[in-house]
């Protein structure tokens, strides 16, 4: 090979290499100068991510800090349809694990989107099985799921949350603003393996976790109330029922039970009907329990005194063209006996003495016809007709609990006012709001709404109600062992579809408190359509008795030992010495 050829080839090679480098340089310039903005954006889109950091939803505790509701992370399954090579095969495999329809899954996997949910909040086992499938484009992510560890306990008060953890019912809805917290944001840079490169984090706004709510409810008392109410609900084939346990002095709700129950961990399996907090949403004619309100009002106004005697017309009282009947014919009854025997005619005559204006005014002062202001949504106000809409019969019917609608919550608040010396308390169900470290951010103190009756009237009415819970009264089955109780039974006819009073469907109720002279608890029990027996004294009073007996024992309220027994004990002790 001649030198000239050699030189020529070398020159050609150099030129070729130079041209290649020139081309590369040109390409580099093009990339750096011309396509820079586009590529820069693309790279930024792949590496820089604005990430939302979810706040943890606050917990709900009972008064002794037992957890009633809390959020726990669980796995959710999602897909990037663009990265799923064989949607049909993936759908088939996933269907067997997730239990979802194969077609529905395939339809989702064929969507022209970069993100689709396949299953949300699955259990650990399912998540592990999905993970084991190792399907391309199918991923698992963490989501928070709300759990109610006590299942049905207090479910009507706690309510539940939706799939996105928004409060939908009960306390979850009412206190949603406190519970939900505030999500945070992070501007992060990710590497090729989608891991965050921590030093490049440019923005970090941490989430503010939701506040914890402490209720006045005591889980043990709530359980007692629910179990006893459920027993009666089953025994008497009732349609529904409610039981509230309240501290009369402060208005603290210790228990608010409703039947039928439902499990908030599986809301879909329950009927809407069973999710209602009947204790504050259902309005009912109170029936004879309302006679204590009439009596207290009449005593306080001075329209009657304890020694007054009423002639009960031997069981049939004709007024304004209608006849009012008593269950048993009575002649003369004292004021105390009118309530003790639950005479409708006697109550009507007490109401007549008080007068329309007086009765209406006291009804309103006792809080009927307006919400009690409890910290829960959906409370009914009840129905109290304005005075100008009262008929001539109203003054004889309202005193015995007809022509008026109240909620069990209103009724227990009113009776608590009689029990505590005349003060109408705002029912308190939230004790406080605390942060995750337990620092109290807001506390809810007991609030007196107004003084309804005087202390003397209250004392007299307590004596009357004590007489009801005795062998001579209508609430023999509410008599407690070791404690004196006061209360009133009620049996109210429901309204038929044609607007007439039903002779088939009734509300059986009892409202009372114990110990009568220094009440620690007030309890109301209402059963909707109990069958075959429906009298409040038969269906509701025994529930009051068992609930009160257990709750007073649990609270450590000392039994009221009669003086005779004390004396006998002292003598016995002396003789031993």
């Amino acid at each position: 090979m001649s030198v000239a050829i050699y030189r020529g080839r070398t020159l050609f090679l150099c030129l070729a290499i130079f041209s290649l480098f020139l081309l590369l340089a040109f390409q580099l310039v093009c990339i750096q100068m011309m396509e820079n903005p586009v590529l820069d954006d693309k790279a930024e889109g792949q590496h820089c991510v604005n990430m939302r950091v979810e706040a943890k939803r606050g917990r709900i505790f009972d008064c002794s800090k037992k957890v009633l509701a809390m959020s726990v992370p669980v796995k959710s399954v999602y897909a990037d349809p663009k990265l799923v090579p064989e949607p049909a095969l993936a759908a088939k495999k996933l269907s067997a694990v997730l239990g979802a329809g194969e077609r529905a899954l395939e339809e989702r996997l064929r969507r022209k989107k970069r993100f689709v949910w396949l299953a949300r909040k699955v259990d650990d086992e399912t998540a592990a099985r999905v993970d084991m499938l190792s399907l391309e484009g199918i991923y698992l992510t963490d989501e928070m799921k709300r759990f109610y560890p006590n299942a049905e306990l207090l479910s009507h008060v706690l309510g539940f949350v939706g799939i996105d953890n928004d409060g939908l019912e009960g306390m979850e809805l009412y206190a949603d603003a406190f519970l939900r917290g505030k999500p945070g944001w992070r501007a992060i840079v990710r590497d090729g393996k989608r891991r965050e490169i921590l030093p490049f984090r440019s923005q970090d706004i941490p989430p503010v976790d939701g506040r914890d709510i402490i209720l006045t409810i005591d889980a043990v008392i709530q359980n007692i109330a629910e179990v006893e109410l459920d027993k009666a609900f089953r025994e008497f084939n009732a349609k529904g029922g409610s039981c509230i346990v309240m501290r009369p002095g402060t208005g603290d709700i210790l228990a608010m039970a409703n039947v039928p129950p439902y499990n908030p961990n599986d809301v879909g399996a329950s009927l809407m009907e069973s999710r209602r907090n009947r204790a504050m949403t259902d309005m009912l004619e109170p029936g004879s329990t309302f006679k204590v309100i009439t009596g207290a009002a009449a005593l306080d106004r001075g329209a009657v005194v304890m020694d007054d005697v009423f002639f009960c017309e031997n069981g049939a009282f004709r007024t304004h063209g209608r006849t009012l009947h008593d269950h048993h014919p009575y002649g003369n009854l004292s004021f105390l006996q009118v309530i003790q025997k639950s005479s409708n005619i006697g109550a009507a005559k007490v109401g007549m003495r008080l007068g329309e204006e007086g009765l209406h005014s006291y009804i309103r002062r006792f809080g009927f016809g307006e919400p009690t202001g409890i910290d829960l949504r959906g409370e009914a106000a009840g129905i109290v007709h304005p005075l100008n809409r009262w008929s001539k019969l109203s003054i004889s019917r309202i005193p015995m609990g007809h022509e008026i609608s109240v909620t069990p919550l209103q009724m227990i608040c009113a009776v608590s006012a009689i029990a505590n010396g005349g003060f109408l308390m705002k029912p308190r169900i939230i004790d406080g709001i605390v942060d995750s470290e337990g620092n109290v951010l807001r506390s809810f103190t007991p609030r007196v709404r107004r003084q309804v009756i005087g202390e003397e009237s209250s004392r007299c009415m307590v004596e009357v109600m004590k007489a009801v819970v005795s062998d001579q009264g209508t609430a023999r089955r509410a008599v407690l062992e070791g404690y004196t109780a006061a209360g009133k039974t009620g049996t109210a006819q429901k309204i038929e579809e044609d607007g007439r009073y039903s002779h088939r469907y009734f509300f059986g109720s009892f409202v009372g408190f114990a110990p009568a002279d220094d009440p620690a608890i007030a309890v109301i029990v209402v059963l909707d359509e109990p069958r075959p027996v429906y009298y409040g004294g038969t269906v509701a009073a025994p529930v009051f008795r068992s609930v009160s007996q257990k709750v007073l024992s649990y609270l450590g309220v000392p039994q009221e030992v009669p003086d005779v027994e004390l004396a006998e004990g002292a003598i016995a002790a002396g003789s031993r010495i």
Partner: protein
């Protein structure tokens, strides 16, 4: 003499150049060392970031496990579950009647809020 002078003249700039070259070399070496140190530190920072993220992940995992355990404890302590166990008799539990309960303190367990009628005055 003249030769010596010219040698001196010629050696001085050579020495200067040599000295300058040395200095430049040192600067370049220093710059390279600093650059390597910078890159090394940078890599270390990124690695530390990964380690921190890993620990954060573990912390989160432990937190989640702790929450799950708390939930389990609460479920196990649920009053209704314990009552069911008593009813089944699987744990030999017996619900004591009032006479078998010995109270260690005579004080009422009514709570922090007063309940007596007299105390109502303070609430007003």
């Amino acid at each position: 003499m003249a030769r010596k002078k010219s040698r001196r003249r010629s050696s001085k700039p050579g020495k200067r150049f040599f000295a300058r070259s040395i200095r430049l070399g040192v600067v370049i070496v220093l710059a390279i060392v600093v650059s390597f140190a910078y890159v090394w530190l940078h890599i270390q920072t990124v690695r530390l970031g990964y380690a921190i993220k890993k620990e954060e992940g573990r912390l989160k995992l432990y937190g989640e496990r702790s929450d799950a355990l708390k939930l389990k404890v609460t479920r196990l302590k649920a009053p209704r579950r314990i009552e069911r166990l008593v009813e089944k008799g699987s744990c030999n539990f017996v619900i004591p009647d009032e006479r078998r309960i010995v109270r260690m303190s005579g004080r009422r367990r009514i709570g922090r809020l007063a309940l007596t009628k007299g105390s109502m005055r303070h609430n007003l």
